[in-house]
Amino acid sequence: MATTEAPPGEPVLYEAHKKIYPREVSGYFTRLRVISLVTLLGIYYITPLLQWDGRQAILFDLPARKFYLFGLTLWPQDFIYLAALLILAGLALFFFTAMLGRVWCGYACPQTVWTEAYLWMERKIEGTHNQRKKLDKAPTSAAKIRIKALKHTVWIAFSLWTGFTFVAYFTPIDELAAELLSLSLGPWETFWILFYSFATYGNAGFMREQVCKYMCPYARFQSAMFDSDTLIVAYHPERGEQRGSRRRGVEPATVGLGDCIDCNVCVQVCPTGIDIRDGLQYECIACSACIDACDEIMDKMSYPRGLIRYTTENSAIGKGQKILRPRIMVYAAILLLLSGLLVTHVAQRVALDLDVIRDRNTLYRETPEGLIENVYTLKILNMDSKPHRYTLWAEGIDGLKLVSDQPEIEVEEGSVFEMVVRLQADEYNLEARSVEVNFHLQAQDSNHLNASREARFVGPGSS
């Protein structure tokens, strides 16, 4: 079996990898794509800078085991929300794939977003795709080294910024920046910044389309979600064939040709290096660069646009487009139902938890007044984003008294408050040796914030 040989100086990553130099392209979909990519990059770099109530708006505070999401503070016990969110994201991917094909790959996937950003820098420094190709083929010279060094410096700087931003999702960005400037970054922060930077540099600078072709699981199974009405990027062979070159302004029919002038521009602009005219291929990330490129050629030839276009398998064979089909409706229904459930659940989430532990050392004791007394340790967890004062009471036995050394129960945001309370009851009111009592906790400034917990009250017995 022939092993693949890489050109000298090019690391072998996968089979006969030929470096792809995507040609520059402009047009409607390219603009749409640039807007999407810039927006997503902006969200990534700006999010850690946002502040909310005097702290970072979105922060996975690992040391404190809390996750801040604007006004919401999530705790490890809220892990279920994260799981639900992941399931929702999966379903959304199903829904959008069935409807719009690989729109995720072309417009939103981080691999695409950063690859395009790195390609943009490459273009600014090394020039057009032809200049880049020439530069790579050229023998080593001072000028070549200078250009390459500049490109890699810019790439590495951008990678480091990306890595720094990534770690800023876990460590407050102002602390991180101060540590960086005073060169006192912790070893693990340093490790993760470098790790993430290296991954970005490798993925966006070198691996590029190979990640989509060989490493991406979605690329492998997305076709299972496709049907004949899914939006795809496709070439129109009936109109294009017989392809062939001709002079500008020639009516195709007069020379026995189709509309495709075989200029190969659609192949040159493809970031994954495929020929869309060969039909739907799993390498196609539906970036629509070939649509814009072909439309430009069609304009030049004065032929109608859309030889390569967004279409569906059904409309390509003249069956018409059907958007609302059972598959879509089922996905949409499940998606709506689940997101509705999640939103209601989060909205009704009570940011308060109460834990009651009965003192195990003594069953009960008698007070000087002749009352039976039980001791409990209470743990109050304020999961809200601001401090609260709470009112505590207990019920379950006639004339039950709650005694505490704490006159006020005030708990800081996101902290646990521990207190010892004593319950006192008259023996005559105890119906059994062990009676159920209920502790109730109520925030003084919010009716919504309340928690209850049952416990046992033990007495000498009624016999």
Binding site: M1, Y14, L62, P63, R65, F79
Partner: protein, 91 residues
């Protein structure tokens, strides 16, 4: 009969096919594990280890990665050696 040997696959691809899936598994595993357990509760009382939470999570993640890596590597190793064996038989 086409060769069953995946030896034609470059080393780097083999490396990535081990590193990459185990990386994803390590992310999921550490997410689930650390949402259930606080690393501070995992250090035995009699051991006086002063370790920052970030270090504990990082080491936890890397250990999960190592574990998944061994499994992925096992799969790759057996696939390759089986293919070699079957090819030899087919000769």
């Amino acid at each position: 009969m086409p060769s069953l040997t995946p030896d034609g696959i470059p080393r780097s691809q083999q490396a990535i096919s081990v590193l990459w899936p185990s990386f994803i598994v390590a992310i999921v595993a550490s997410g689930v594990f650390f949402s259930a357990f606080d690393p501070r509760d995992l250090i035995p009382f009699n051991l006086d280890i002063d370790i920052s939470p970030v270090a504990a999570y990082s080491i936890g993640f890397l250990l999960f990665w190592l574990l998944a890596l061994l499994s992925s590597f096992g799969t790759l190793y057996f696939t390759i050696s089986n293919c070699r064996f079957l090819n030899k038989q087919g000769d």
